[in-house]
Subunit: 392 residues, 4 copies
């Protein structure tokens, strides 16, 4: 693998996923954990040769909570005791930068480590400064958005329709511009790749896609495909291949961490459910009459997450059958390695000179960004496209 | 689709799956059911053009039970009342031919409709006669084995090692030659394709593979991939793609039909479990330490079948997670359409002049027959190979 | 058992549960089904001696849908074909009486078989007339409410607080008086016992409790305890007995029949969820922090109903464990026999001279009516009280 | 509660359950855990007044493994890190006494800390010596058997039929006398109560029951009712109360600790399954046609245990329904508090002068010992009897 230093600047660094990314890489450097769960860890030498080595990754990032990452790791309870002891010292030295914030897009906010100004241009300047300082110690920086889900915006807004309109809206202090968009704008303007692991609208508006192409910056998103949707996009194509008709798919999710709390806000929840619901039609070629997705904030689970899916299918002679899938998973444990791989791939794309939407990274996302066509959701097809690109 | 008449000669015609095949095609002809559950029913016109039309399929076959198929359908309770009424008349005219039988390979046998002789050559002659008579009303005949699972044989036996050795064993009345082998031999000798939907050892011995190649006959098998293994070969490759380590996979099966009763015989059970257990290593590239497969005869279910799978996985930072899949399915409803498609594909292979093992049909089997290499089990790869052949 | 004729007048006669009650009793009379599922069918002779014989039950009742019960049975698909054929003739002779209706309490209404007037007193007069006519052919009539759930009302309303206030509200045409209350008033005024199988507010307001006591009429309710809550009130006391702390209980329900459609109305849903949520505190003696109940209208299931419960418990040393219960049930099959038993017990109470709230029937209800104390929810305690009364 | 010191002498002290008992009580003494999971911790003052205080319990016991309990706790991974640190010191001072052992009754044995002699009388003398030394520091000693399950013996053996016959067999060095019986004999001879938490045959043979009565010693057993059977004996009576017919009950168990390994021995497994299978007939009053119990040694789980139960029921009109229960539990966490309560209750019985079989402790056992009648299995009835005794 490449010996270059890759710097990942995480929006929401002190969250459960961000902390897990940092702690995981530190533990890897110390040889205290192996690479299980990192999707690209078993590539042959040749495929992996231009990807940054896991051990050469360094972290920075923003968070509303000013506490250092050792304190964050203690709160999120993602590490076991031995792991915590091993990385406590190095984590305690990482303090998040001041975050951009806007209550119109995210309520349920806790923590006071934010940028004072409400002037969009000034916020961007601050973010750019953070990035430039970070660039001094890395060969390449990539921004990954792991912040709590913002409320759904009207994506057809005139202000998002072109770079020019967006620049005007920035100057005018438009209230339609979200923190996620400011981060994306700042990254692109600094020629830094941007990956959106959240369902929030960010670099996926026409204005920022245009900007990314102009700046020759690769962007990718959105909403990491970790648990339930991952399984859904694996099973649905196979049921289709057997021509088993899906009559209903009821998906429920229980989650108890800070992300769950954010989703207990109706607006954020709507944003999240939207990205979960659109996959089946694309894969099956027909509308599932009853496709219901439910997400619940359920405290007993903490960072553990549970998905229960019930699938009603009709087979030969019109006979009905059922499949139920119960996935007892850990949100951060599934998400952190994907976020790391997205960063490595965006770095690779940047090296190769690829710019704009990186559609081949669809395999990592619930709602893949595409330029012209509707996205491919079937996992095995996404993976085929991805591996082809990787080995190009 | 082709206007030719395809005759399917079913070993075990009066069983639940055989009856469902016949009733299903009759209901299709009458327009009483649609093609849901038939995997190749949604192919575009071009891909499907040389496949026999579903409506042009006719049935014959052997069964130990002499009753006509209307009586069999009533016993198996696979059809609902309206469906039964619609096809009762046509089913009542189909009487199974006398079956080959050998208590050394299958105990728990019921029914008296069998060939009297224990002389292998005479049994073969009878089977060939049945097939020749059936050929008179079809453009092409294909034999599909749906009989109850025979006990496991020692596949390395000298008598199976070459066609010459096998011919000698036939003449000598060897007790290592099973009914399934006699059917396969008879079909191949008559230049009729042979598909093995059961786990029994049949055309997969070297002697009969050699014979099939010599006779220019396509053969395929074995053990139809309907429920649990289907799901297993869909999920395992995706977990591998995410580098989630599978520590254990516990699979239990409850089934209550005549097949379940046959499997309550220890020898047949061993044969069945063997075909179920071998898939994971192939897909994952490592041995799952605790891969347990359990099959139980459980009468309350009748033809309904239930699979419960528990999968223990390890992810990033060595953290453990679990996936549980509960598949409430109907054995015959899943199996019958696959058996129909295998027959149509073997007919297509015969038209194209393909002979010997049809490896591209792996997508339909739990334990795909291959000539040189170990079989591919990952469902999406099997399907890719299959579609490529179909569209060749 | 008693040789008296018991007439059950069902509100919502043509619904799935009502139809199942009638068809079930008719099938019993014909000897076509046994008494499985009828909770009091295995009582010893002595305990059962004053209960009306199942075979001596006759039915009448109201429904918005004017079609006869054979047509209703065909629509609800509760009977198998043989059962339908056996009772089609007798069911086709039963036509529902015109129902009371009020759109303020129940939207999603279909059917035109309702009483024209909006004058409360006139509606009551009509209901009383129906009951008096029905009394002519029975030794005793009991009214059972099986109508769709009405929207939640403010039970502390002044108009419900005493019989006098309620009478005034009736005269004034108050819009707070629901159809369910009119039926209850009519029954009580005619000295006919009234059982409420639904979550709607009816005889459980102070005014009607007072009226029932004055008229010497037994009443009981409410909301039949069929599936999920039944299991919940069985498991929770046992977990308490082991001092396993319940941290969270997530209950989801999928149902696809007309009742499910009614519950897709927000107001009715709130009424239903309220009766489901209150049971745990009573049994455990503490508040479960995350007790979530979700009910979804999910069409693929039809009358089949599914409950999935996830229970998070903490045991010794603060260690966490989970129990998951998946109940694949049939709504009408569970509800109809309970409704029959409630009617038989109300008849028995009437014979014994018991009046007012019949608390000993709590074993049949999700939200038992009580006079002074909060209700007992633990199933085994309810059953103990019930059996003691029965054998008194 | 009583201020007396209760000494619990555990057979299999260093096992997962034994270690959890000791560590749990130590943590309680330190105020580091609360009493969650201890069934009798919430009794009112009066009911509990003669039970030994949890904080006044001390431990001793035998184990094949000589390591101290701190080492055992580390191996079993039952404690979290903070808990381990808190009790490491006190646990490290407890070393198991030399255990009795016999390969005819328990293979898969590991560890060398056993009594050298095969002379039954000498083994008994050693055990008695251990007990007498332990008595010096306690007001009352109770023996609890937590050793791995021994192979099934023929309980009708002549040698077990009376105390006299058993004494002769002891003298003759009979090979039908198991270590579990020697411990029971030694305890009873020393007037120390004996509780059997395992399925092994011990004090439940006529000879030892006779001996216990003669010595005025209370005994109880057997096989702690922790997980699956607990749930089974809770659900089955409720299904019976609703007259829902149980057609089949399929119970599977996955467990990965040392107990699971012992059960991978066929003989021990048979012993265990026997105690699990007998409960349904007793509760239901009829034989469930397909009641299947499966137990699997499955390493990925470690001390975590999983039960999956599938229940097939028939309701009104002969319609079929299913209930599935998935219990993700921790063996030692459920077992240790029950073992503690059994010891406290045996101590109470001894104080009260109760001798012989303590049938009222059935609530704690899968296969309750009874003197004349067949045991009661329904959980709520067992609990009623138990509470009545406790409050006597």
């Amino acid at each position: 693998m490449s010996e270059r230093t890759l710097g990942i600047a995480v929006i929401g660094l002190g969250g459960a996923v961000g902390t897990t990314m940092v702690a995981g890489i530190e533990l890897l450097k110390l040889g205290k954990v192996d690479k299980t769960g990192l999707p690209l860890s078993e590539l042959d030498q040749n495929s992996a040769k231009d990807l940054a080595a896991y051990e050469r990754i360094v972290f920075g990032g923003w968070d509303l909570n000013a506490e250092n990452l050792a304190a964050a790791a203690e709160e999120h309870e993602v590490l076991n005791h031995k792991q915590f002891v091993a990385v406590e010292n190095s984590l305690s030295k990482i303090y998040p930068w001041k975050a951009a914030v806007d209550e119109r897009f995210l309520s349920n906010i806790e923590g006071g480590n934010f940028l004072p100004s409400k002037d969009h241009r000034e916020v961007i300047k601050n973010i750019v400064n953070d990035l430039k300082k970070f660039q001094e110690i890395c060969d390449q920086v990539v921004v990954i958005n792991l912040a709590s889900t913002e409320k759904l915006v009207d994506e057809s807004s005139e202000e998002y329709s072109s770079l020019a309109a967006f620049e005007n809206a920035l100057d005018a202090g438009s209230e339609n511009i979200s923190p996620a968009m400011l981060y994306a704008y700042a990254a692109i303007s600094t020629e830094i790749p941007y990956g959106n692991f959240t369902p929030s609208v960010a670099a996926d508006i026409p204005a920022l896609i245009e900007f990314a192409e102009m700046q020759n910056v690769p962007i990718a998103g959105k909403d990491g495909k970790t648990g339930q949707t991952f399984i859904k996009t694996v099973l649905a194509p196979a049921l289709k291949a057997r021509e088993l008709k899906i009559e209903g798919w009821y998906s429920t999710n229980l989650l108890g961490n800070r992300d769950g709390l954010a989703l207990s806000n109706e607006d954020s929840l709507r944003s999240k459910i939207k990205t979960k619901a659109s996959v089946l039609r694309n894969i099956l070629g027909y509308e599932v009459e009853d496709h219901i997705v439910d997400i619940r904030y359920y405290r007993p689970r903490g960072d553990d997450k549970e998905a229960w899916d019930n699938i009603d299918i009709t087979g030969f002679l019109g006979q009905k059958m059922q499949i139920k899938v119960n996935f007892l998973c850990k949100d951060s444990i599934l998400a952190a390695p994907l976020a790391i791989e997205i960063a490595r791939c965006l770095d690779l794309a940047k090296q190769r000179g690829d710019s704009g939407i990186q559609e081949q990274l669809s395999v990592f996302f619930k709602l893949p960004m595409t330029k012209y066509e509707s996205p491919e959701h079937a996992f095995h097809i996404q993976n085929k496209h991805f591996l082809k690109w990787l080995n190009a």
